[in-house]
Symmetry: C2
Subunit: 337 residues, 2 copies
DNA sequence: CGGGATCCTGTAAGCGCTTGCATAATATTC
DNA sequence: GAATATTATGCAAGCGCTTACAGGATCCCG
């Protein structure tokens, strides 16, 4: 592989001049500039960024650590983060952890090892092996904790109010006359799921509906699981008249199960999703959902990260963004028997 | 930020010893090993990988360059690539290009700048600014070209036989008695779309159906576009009795449009997708599709990349993997009037 | 025409790490 | 107990790059 030295030799200048041609061309005479540029072009020379970044202690890379990149939910978030990052000269690398802690750590460590300048974390666990007996909080790399954030060493957070969002979703269903509202929840251990369950409970209680834990089915964010959960809910007597799925993707599984059972949506059973993914309007029936402000989430992540990348200290803040109930065709008043 | 020198000083050894403790602990006496380890732990020292990688000219990172990470289609591919990579000590970074050439190049250049060891390219364009008058093919970084590969400087390729796949899909529809088969195609410029259109054409011709270009609608891989295209196709007289969507995601858009038009699937119109995404069975009706061997694609990419990462020269090969027609509920014999 | 400003270029240090080599200390062998 | 093998450690070079610094040309001005 070609190095700056060899280019320098070929162009009959010193390495410093080659570097200047590439980084600060105005400092170099036209003659040498042309000579160097033509050699660079001929040879296809590209500087070794490991060396450049080592020297400059800066990579202009941001790592986004995501449990399952593929979830439709991430789409707009990723896009908006990336657009802002690029505007500011950074690129975004995505790390798909498959919800495995080992991978979360591996990707997060790229910041401590200087391979990226900062990270945006969409997982709930703290991703570093740090001895908490020592005050190492100061050694945290630039980072933002999004969507699943708990209190964590003063790391800035981006969230929605999951409790309120789930409460409002549930209240909406209750206001349609539903008394038996099944829940298809996600990973039972994640903060967002916990909060949403709490919100559901609040709404149930204040609507004077009897809380029935049998109506709650936790699992993961998979379609399969949602389908099974729905079958189970539909086997109950009395049967729920509404299902609140804690993600739109799971809602698709609910719809699928209901179709197979020949249960009419929304006439017999209403389905409410969560997230606001772009598929929603295209489902049959179009999915009512508690929409997250996906674009704003991405933007907020960058707004909180960029100052840190510029050397400003971490601010312990929690940016809570507004959710929105989007009513389409999958929800309707509870059937009257 | 802590460097190896400071750790060395604190542990009262030389930097080389610290390095040895971290990389080849058996070379160091227990006494110093313990001393160094305890300092490392206390201080939370982590080696600067830019320096390590510069020194070792190796990063153990692979960049996967993907037009739109979010497409369900990528799910299994990414997962299988990543699993194999990790087995071999590599991690996979995902680059989402939003189909923008500038981003494809930016990510691909990370290999030439040594920030990653190799790349897997899921886009169709050549991602480097290389002067083709010079023989620079030899300077290509380790790479594999997947899913959208054309002949390109001897870069190993992973593909399915898109012509045959689309032909078989079309033949299947024709065998059900469909004579008017609409197509909702993807980006008109990508090799895969071109090949699939060619395969469609072959099947149409050999079934002695009159080829009608009006039935072909190209756009992108979006749901919206697919929905519009479907509306358009359904406005034609005589109306197509089948739609072949060149991705399952677009097929969702077709289903959605048909539902809105109250057209029965598959009684009045059959819908055939392409890809075999995991949503397929959960749609209403469950989607028939030409499935790609997604897991095998991911595996093949790694099988072709790993040898290159070990220094073996690029082999100009084209690994063509088998597709499979998966028949579910969205296709049926053409209606008889 | 001398002195200062301006422009250009090379020298060399250093970013943080790893490892070949040399040396020193210790163990092993006959 | 001398010769040899083994083990442990430090020294220093070098991975490829950037930039502060200094020195040599060139120019401008009175």
């Amino acid at each position: 592989m070609l190095s700056i030295k060899e280019i320098a030799k070929l162009a009959d200048v010193c390495p410093a001049t080659v570097s200047r041609v590439l980084r600060h061309p105005h400092l170099v005479s036209e003659e040498k500039r042309d000579r160097v540029n033509s050699i660079v072009k001929q040879t296809g020379y590209v500087p070794n960024n490991l060396a450049v970044n080592l020297r400059n202690t800066k990579t202009y890379k941001i790592m986004a650590i995501i449990p399952e990149v593929i979830r439709a939910y991430n789409n707009v978030i990723i896009r908006s983060m990336q657009d802002i990052a690029i505007e500011h000269g950074y690129s975004v690398l995505l790390g798909d952890t498959q919800s495995l802690q080992s991978r979360e750590k591996a990707f997060a460590d790229m910041a401590r090892t200087r391979e990226v300048d900062g990270i945006v974390l969409f997982c709930s666990r703290f991703p570093f092996d740090i001895d908490h007996t020592v005050d190492l909080a100061t050694q945290l790399p630039p980072m933002v904790h999004a969507c699943e954030s708990t209190d964590m060493l003063g790391i800035p957070k981006v969230n929605i109010d999951n409790v309120a969002a789930a409460r409002e979703g549930t209240e909406y269903l209750a206001s349609l006359g539903h008394k038996l509202i099944g829940v298809v929840a996600g990973h039972s251990l994640t903060p967002s799921t916990e909060s949403r369950l709490a919100g559901y409970r609040q709404a149930i209680d204040s609507a004077n509906i009897n809380y029935n834990p049998n109506l709650i089915s936790t699992g993961n964010y998979d379609l399969n699981m949602a389908e099974e959960a729905t079958q189970y809910l539909m086997s109950l007597r009395p049967r729920p008249t509404a299902i609140f799925a804690f993600s739109d993707e799971m809602a698709i599984g609910c719809l699928s199960a209901l179709h197979k059972l020949k249960i009419k949506i929304p006439e017999e059973v209403s389905v409410l999703g969560f997230d606001g993914i772009s598929y929603g309007p295209f489902l049959n029936p179009a999915l009512s959902t508690v929409a997250q402000p996906l674009q704003q989430i991405g933007q907020a992540c960058m707004q909180l990260l960029l100052p840190q990348l510029n050397g400003e200290p971490m601010q312990d803040c929690n940016r809570v963004l507004p959710h929105e109930l989007v009513i389409r065709q999958s929800t309707a008043p509870a059937p009257v028997y």
